[in-house]
Amino acid sequence: MNNFSVAKIREDFPIFNKVMRGGNKLVYLDSGATSQKPLSVLDAERDFYLNHNAAVHRGSHQLAEEASEAYEKAREVVANFIGAKSDEVIFTKSATESLNALAYSFGNSKEGSPFYLQAGDEILLSEMEHHANLIPWQELAKRTGAKLTWFNIDEQGRLDLSNIDELINSRTKLVCLTHQSNVLGTINPIVEIAAKTHKVGALFILDACQSVPHLSVSVKDLDIDFLAFSGHKALGPTGIGILWGKAGLLDEMEPFLFGGSMIESVTMTDATWAPVPRKFEAGVPNMAQAVGLAAAFKYLENVGMDVIANHDRELTQYALSEFEKLSGVTIIGPKDISNRGAVISFTIDGIHPHDVGQVLDQYGIAVRTGHHCAWPLMKKFGIAGTTRASFYLYNDISEIDQLVQGVKDAQKYFKV
């Protein structure tokens, strides 16, 4: 799409017609939490239920065939979107479930497995991880005796890589990092870190929740081992997440949810597993949501991921320069645009983020306030929380002007 127009995009998102409290227009700056949905996604889900609904991979009737075909086609679309093969893509209910599935499966693995962990092993994280990419590893470490280590971050909110060769060492078994911080916007140098990870024989796991919706992400180019993201931040429905893993690794990995669909054969005392990816998809999956996610990715592809990344960049650059002009406002995160996503976290002297959010809400401006599920990061910066504005393809410059005006109004209201 060469003639990208936000106005045209917004026609596809009926929620922007909503009249907010006080008669305001909706200024939605919270896509980092969840994105809004275009009609084509809602239509795809509805069409599945209206015309093709049946449990996939069961039954020999026409609807079961159609449902299975729609579901597997969705898998293909997702695989293409991230440069993967179809049978490496596992549908889960969320990125959180994807990461937990890895942590549980690794914890259950036996000695000799590539995923086996024991005392003396290390799991490397960073201080900027979302709780979803922190707590599953904390718990895995507790269960196995492995030790957690982490990259520090500097004042700008970038990873401190000065001690990378100490952190990634012969004891390192897993490196679990976010592609883009949901708070700071920092985009991490994954290729470099993944290469070092592989040099010591460890596995690299990427939390791509914030990157997949905004950037062209190719698992092949990044050369990583596992990747997790959720559909709902990428214009897709809630209740659908993705776990991608390298084919050979998924073959060796033990399933973590057991039950229907995931088996090859079953006796009263034992069972064997279906091939990947079915081995990891026990139970009737979220079929309509998978189909909805495929529609979301088609929508994004139609607009163009490069176009979206450029648009994000323009908005973020503008917001950064406007925020720099504000007195009493501190940006928490990198101030330069390089390797930076479309999210700005900030604090205002003398006003708690909750109160900032409340004033902004008065103008129909939706932002996120608080610790953003990254409590250790807040502690690192010595703050209780931030106000976070995150942008997407349906936002424009005028909305950033409204945000800036809202910040000034909050300062006036609280007399700071």
Binding site: R21, G22, I351, H352, P353, H354, D355, Q358, V359, Q362, T369, G370, H371, W375, M378, A384, G385, Y413, F414
Partner: protein, 146 residues
């Protein structure tokens, strides 16, 4: 402006100049409460003697609503018997859960009546209750110790 129904002047005043904010001894119980959805934290000391709340002191970080509410609560409750204090607490909790339907009993709530508007903002009710719940916990612990 609807904001003014939330941020009454007395709330803004207490936010700027909170009372009893600085931990002091002696105390019969100390509690630490957090609001996990926003990360706000409060530490609260209470001194209960012969069934009377003789002192409350507190410290913490939080929004204007949580800070002012704790400040006003401490003023209201110090000097009351624990059972009277719990009556105020009950009245305040009911007001918070009223979804804007109740104006509250000013005789009982005094300055805390200013939080009536908070009940219309579901996301802020927990903020207003943070200090009160900490007091409830600390008072109950003090009594249990006796």
């Amino acid at each position: 402006m609807e904001l003014d129904s939330l941020y009454q002047q007395v709330i803004l005043d207490h936010y700027k100049n909170p009372t009893n904010k600085s931990l002091r001894a002696p105390f019969t119980a100390q509690v630490h409460h957090v609001n996990p959805s926003c990360g706000d934290e409060i530490t609260l000391n209470v001194l209960v003697k012969n069934g009377v709340v003789e002192d409350i002191s507190w410290d913490g970080v939080g929004c204007s609503i949580s800070q002012a509410s704790t400040s006003i609560m401490s003023e209201l409750v110090i000097g009351k018997s624990v059972s009277d204090a719990f009556k105020v607490l009950e009245e305040f909790t009911e007001l918070m859960q009223s979804k804007g339907q109740s104006k509250g009993d000013e005789e009982v709530l005094e300055d805390a009546i200013a939080f009536a508007g908070v009940s219309k903002f579901p996301a802020r009710i927990k903020c207003a209750l943070l200090g009160w719940m900490a007091f409830k916990d600390a008072a109950a612990q003090s009594i249990a110790k006796n």
